[in-house]
Symmetry: D3
Subunit: 133 residues, 6 copies
């Protein structure tokens, strides 16, 4: 695949996985670093995400772990909590994955990521998660 | 202690140390991950913070160091600057602890944490800190 | 469950998931902070890992993401690459999860985590992973 | 140089490099930790930045790399994207430096830093950057 | 104070707080970046650590929090666990401060820092810490 | 360019910039994640590094900033300190860039990166750097 074909492949994956939220981030880069937007589409989604070695649901679990651990990635967590729901994780599973990060990345990172999930769940009209027990 | 007793212990410590600010964070998790709220209370405060090996004032110095170093923890720093004042650190000591982090975590992390302290000090009506010299 | 029962539950999970590698880390804490070893067993494994909301394979994907992103966690990655293989991820899937982290945590974190996986795969006598393509 | 002379030197460098943006950060510390403001001026700019071993343009490239990698440094990136432009980097070069960080710090850190640059470029009335290709 | 006097002040503090361990780090920089060694002594210890707003014991609690949270700071933790013991923290208190970081920085960072403390305690011939309970 | 051509381009850049040190890292991935090695060559060097918007010397300044700030990247710093010298930075400039990171990433990160530079300078038989003053 050449540069244009990789972009086309990536755009298809981005659209299936991230929906509008991912496209909005790419669009936000159009007048400051369109090449970064291109790399997100062509490399991150076209070359990497599209690989068959792990299905999207598994990739989103890894991604949630990375983004929660990094901290300061509210914009990207917004996209990837949406993506996680798009590829088959339930809201309860997303909340549990982020709860799990408390063990390895600490409680503050876990709380911050969970508050992004809360916002996304509300925007999508999902019912409250009750994971007590 | 069982799960409920650990929660009760934790709630007492949380209330003494963090006051309303900590409770607000726990409340904010109620409809997205109440178990994370439970772990904050029962584990972080009931099991860990309540241990007698270090008094609350010492724990807050460690916590300020961790949160300043992590970055992106404005919500938690808000709670823990309040907590620091609640358990006996003065505003000057809080500012100094955060100034001290500049050496080890760099100036930007120190500035960001200090600006959270500024907000908390103002909300509590504290006079300006003059630590020049 | 009380403190002792949580420890017993955690020990069972730790043993199933991490095998000897996790126990070695807990043992290494015995003469410096046995309470930290206790918390790893009773809290991290007994309270958190044992929750049914996500199966072990999913938890390991999140954990690999967090540990790769944090950096400097070679000891813990050694344990959790072993754990990942123990709970059903293949070597190819582990390598792919760590390759995936390059997008979000950068190439150096991905390389460092992958080199830990290389060591673990070799210790377990696994054949080379060929994921080119 | 004594404390006062270092401050004077630093203020001159700060003013040349950061312009008003840096002064605003120092001012924001005046009533919470004026000593931190003093250290920014006297140490960071007077002692360190003023050293002749690297010219300002080179220092800003290093600084952009550090701040993008740390994450959660939007306030400081705002100052230092301005500084980068003040000392001779073009908007295209700033965007490229931040694009370059995607390789080493991951795509989210690169995006977040680039969005700060976008804001600064707009505030300065700069034309869109087209770095596709 | 001028540059030389700040260095002399810093050297006195460094020697009191860090003992030989700090000096070894400064010495290790002598043929690659003696100015960095100078800044450690004159700025970190002479200007910052020597300030009376917080006593050394308090500063070491903050420092342990920062270094544990950063990760990858084994060399510096070695110095600062020694420093913590030199300025009046007991081995049990050091272990507890590092246990406390598990809540905020996660279990891996806490374990890694605790294993450095284990090494330092052994080098100083201290008895095992028993903090169970 | 297709996948193979991007790899060929990247290999040429990698060889010019990193010399043997970069190739060794790629080789070390051959039996665990050859695709990660491919991405390093084809994407990091072929697509990104080769872009004309910044010359190699500028890219290395950014890279040194990122790697020092991340911490735990000794393997990659080894490669990129070598690369920095290969593309025209002097040992004094490398030491200064890493000294500069102390302001933004803190003294420990700066020391750790500088000690990697010390090792590389020694391996290349460079004379001591004297940057005092």
């Amino acid at each position: 695949m050449n540069r244009e074909e990789r972009y086309t492949t990536g755009l298809k994956v981005l659209s299936e996985v991230d929906g509008e939220a991912g496209q909005r981030v790419v669009d936000s880069l159009a007048d400051v670093s369109p090449e970064l937007g291109h790399q997100v589409v062509a490399w991150a989604f076209g070359d990497m995400y599209a690989r068959p070695e792990l299905p999207p649901r598994d990739r989103q679990l890894v991604t949630l772990g990375v983004l929660a651990a990094l901290g300061g990635c509210e914009i990207e967590l917004d996209v990837h909590v949406n993506a996680a729901l798009n590829v088959g994780l339930t809201a309860t599973e997303v909340a549990e994955a982020l709860l799990h990060t408390a063990v390895y990345a600490g409680v503050p990172r876990s709380i911050n990521a969970t508050l992004v999930a809360k916002k996304v769940f509300a925007e999508r009209g999902l019912p409250p998660v009750n994971n007590l027990g």
